[in-house]
Amino acid sequence: MGTRAVCLGLRALAGGCRGFTSKADPQGSRRVTAELIEHLERLALVDFGSQEAVARLERAIAFADRLRAVDTDRVEPKESVLEDRCLYLRSDNVVEGNCAEELQNSHRGVKEYFVAPAGNISWPKLDEKEPFSHR
């Protein structure tokens, strides 16, 4: 789910929505800058880790870009494939809420709380990471 969000957003960015620079390749594959990689890594908590991974990302974008071959002039974009479905409205009644009982039997708990690591999920600082050169 995280990667999907990243890819959708990335295409929007590569399309020049906000201030990231990207060199447009006439063949349709875009260059991805070092700042963008760093930003994505922080937001989505992924680690590109190597040049090969960045290259794979660029190929993924290029693959998705093939959608542009379709002529969408004067066609309204869909928001989702469920657009013509009816959104079901539930009555405001209490019918559930006990899942924690069943889950907590198997995990160490502290006074009925779920336990998570301290603080927010941290990302190693730039100088702590193993450097690899971006193109």
């Binding site: 539930r90 009925e112 301290a118």
Partner: protein
């Protein structure tokens, strides 16, 4: 609505550079849990500012501040926004969590009809355009109390847009005049609340309670139309009253049912708007105005010292974290002219029907009070500002023959004064509306004087169960009804104090008060001072 109209400061308030010697406050700063503490601005007064192209001007300058607000109000509903777990803030941790709330795989969101109605009603009350079609999105970020890793919200196409919130601020030297202001409502959207995390630094872990995860929130975004903390606080107060009148949220800030984030920037009038900073999670009405004013002053000081305002919190501006919620079709709303035929009415929300059922809004209630009872607008505000006070007032009016102005004065001054002194709510008052009504009747009939009435009120407050009439009898506070006796007492007093009489005739204005005092004592406080004065003056002049 969003065009940056250059505003001068709040009525009577001028923002000035606070002096060269003032210390720029780093780190400790705003006591409201602001996330940007510790990394404020880059300059400090201790350093000499570098020589820049523009020499910073010192001394008094006009500054204007621009404040926008994002308000999160918890919807008053039985169950959560997308699941059937109960909404209750006093339950044991993790006792109100469904599989969906815990984000277990295979679960899907199911929209709560009551939450949609609450959003539409709030939109209507704030004069918004209700979008007949609105969409849900996912906003991704990582935090221990957000099990799904995303929050379902309505960023792109929310349920209501383009409204306005009308509120009033007190102006003038004695804060007695009310001025009406308007803040634009940019949008109202439905979204999920997150759970709660407690940080246990001792054991280096975070404790998570998901009871609140998934509770429905109304996010109300106000345009940056406010210019200081006081205006922001007044706008919030009015929104609170509206939400409470609608029943869409209890909007109690202390219990976290209403949370406010403020976006603040300063600029010199005539120049473009400055960089915004965000002050987050304001959850006390008192702190709100102070925190905003503090931040405004901090920014002014920073800029006056040649520094820059840094904006650290806008990681969502890049909009990389958003995607459409794939599990929810668009939300469609209808009006009387567009109702679909042959559908289950439970599945259809009719905006016109909701509009007809809207309860009376505070603004209308206040206008009615002013018109019906001739009270000042400030009084109508005061009556609505305290829970239960309006009802108390109306019950007294129903049962008494006294003039509304008298009732207003007694309720807002005497009654409210006693309540505040002992920190009581209206519901805890030892004096009932009937008792006060009876007391005011006695006063109206001139059975007792106004000072006696105050005494009776005090006694009513202290001893439950006694009626005003009983107290009057016990303490012998009835006004003397026999005019002849009063005449007699006045004459004898005049005869007994010839020196004072001479003083009065000489033109000493205070001498008559002495005589009045003497007569009052002689009557054991059972005569109205104004009547005494009349009689004395008549007798003296004859």
């Amino acid at each position: 609505m969003a065009t940056p109209i250059l505003r001068w400061c709040c009525p009577g308030r001028r923002w000035v550079f606070a002096g060269i010697g003032s210390v720029s406050r780093h780190g400790r700063g705003v006591p409201t849990g602001s996330t940007s503490s510790g990394k404020r601005g880059q300059s400090s007064v201790a350093q000499q500012p570098l020589i820049t192209a523009q020499k910073p001007r010192k001394g008094e300058r006009e500054w204007a501040a621009v404040v926008g607000l994002e308000i999160h109000a918890q919807i008053a509903s039985n169950s959560k926004l997308f699941s059937g777990s109960q909404v209750d803030f006093a339950a044991p941790p993790n006792s109100l969590v469904s599989f969906f709330d815990a984000s277990l795989p295979g679960t899907l969101p199911v929209l709560n009809r009551r939450c949609v109605e609450a959003a539409v009603m709030t939109g209507l009350a704030l004069d918004c355009h209700i979008n007949r079609r609105s969409l849900f999105d996912r906003k991704h970020y990582f935090y221990a109390d957000l099990p799904a890793g995303y929050q379902i919200t309505q960023q792109r196409l929310p349920i209501a847009v383009n409204g306005s919130l009308v509120y009033s601020v007190c102006v003038g030297k004695r804060q007695s005049q009310m001025v009406t202001k308007t803040a634009g409502v940019k949008q109202i959207q439905l979204e999920q609340d997150s759970g709660k995390s407690l940080h246990d630094s001792l054991r280096s872990q975070t404790l998570v309670d998901l009871n609140r995860a998934g509770v429905g929130l109304l996010e109300v975004v106000l345009e940056p139309d406010m210019s200081c903390g006081e205006e922001a606080a007044a706008a919030i107060r009015e929104l609170q009253l509206i939400l409470q009148a609608l029943g869409t949220s209890q909007a109690n800030m202390a219990e976290g049912q209403l949370r406010v984030d403020a976006n603040i920037s300063v600029h010199n009038p005539g120049e473009p708007l400055g960089v915004r900073t965000e002050v987050k999670n304001l959850n006390s009405a008192r702190f709100l105005a102070k925190a905003i004013d503090y931040e405004i002053q901090r920014q002014i000081n920073e800029l006056e010292n040649g520094g820059k305002i840094l904006n650290e919190t806008r990681s969502f501006d890049y909009k990389l974290g958003f995607m459409p919620e794939p599990n929810l079709p668009p939300l469609l709303l209808y009006d009387s002219g567009s109702l679909p035929t042959g559908t289950d009415p439970q599945q259809v929300i009719n905006i016109d029907q909701l509009r007809e059922q809207l309860p009376e809004l505070p603004r209308v209630t206040r206008e009615k009070l002013v018109q019906q009872y001739g009270m000042l607008p400030e009084h109508s505000f005061a009556l609505l500002n305290e829970v239960g006070l309006l009802e108390f007032f109306q019950n007294v009016i129903k049962e008494t023959r006294a003039e509304p102005k008298k009732v207003t004065s007694w309720v807002l001054n005497t009654f409210l004064g006693f309540l505040k002194q002992q920190n009581l709510a209206v519901s805890e008052s030892p004096v009932t509306p009937s008792a006060l009504a009876e007391l005011l009747d006695l006063l109206d009939r001139k059975a007792i004087s106004s000072s006696a009435a105050k005494q009776v009120f005090q006694e009513l407050w202290r001893s439950k169960g006694k009626t005003p009439a009983q107290i009057v009898a016990e303490k012998k506070l009835e006004l003397m009804q026999d005019a002849e006796v009063l005449e007699q007492l006045c004459r004898s007093t005049l005869e007994a104090h010839p020196q004072v009489v001479t003083d009065v005739k000489k033109g000493n204005p205070r001498a008559i008060n002495k005589l009045i005092g003497l007569v009052r004592r002689a009557t054991l406080g059972r005569a109205d001072p104004t009547v005494i004065k009349e009689v004395l003056e008549r007798q003296l002049s004859s």
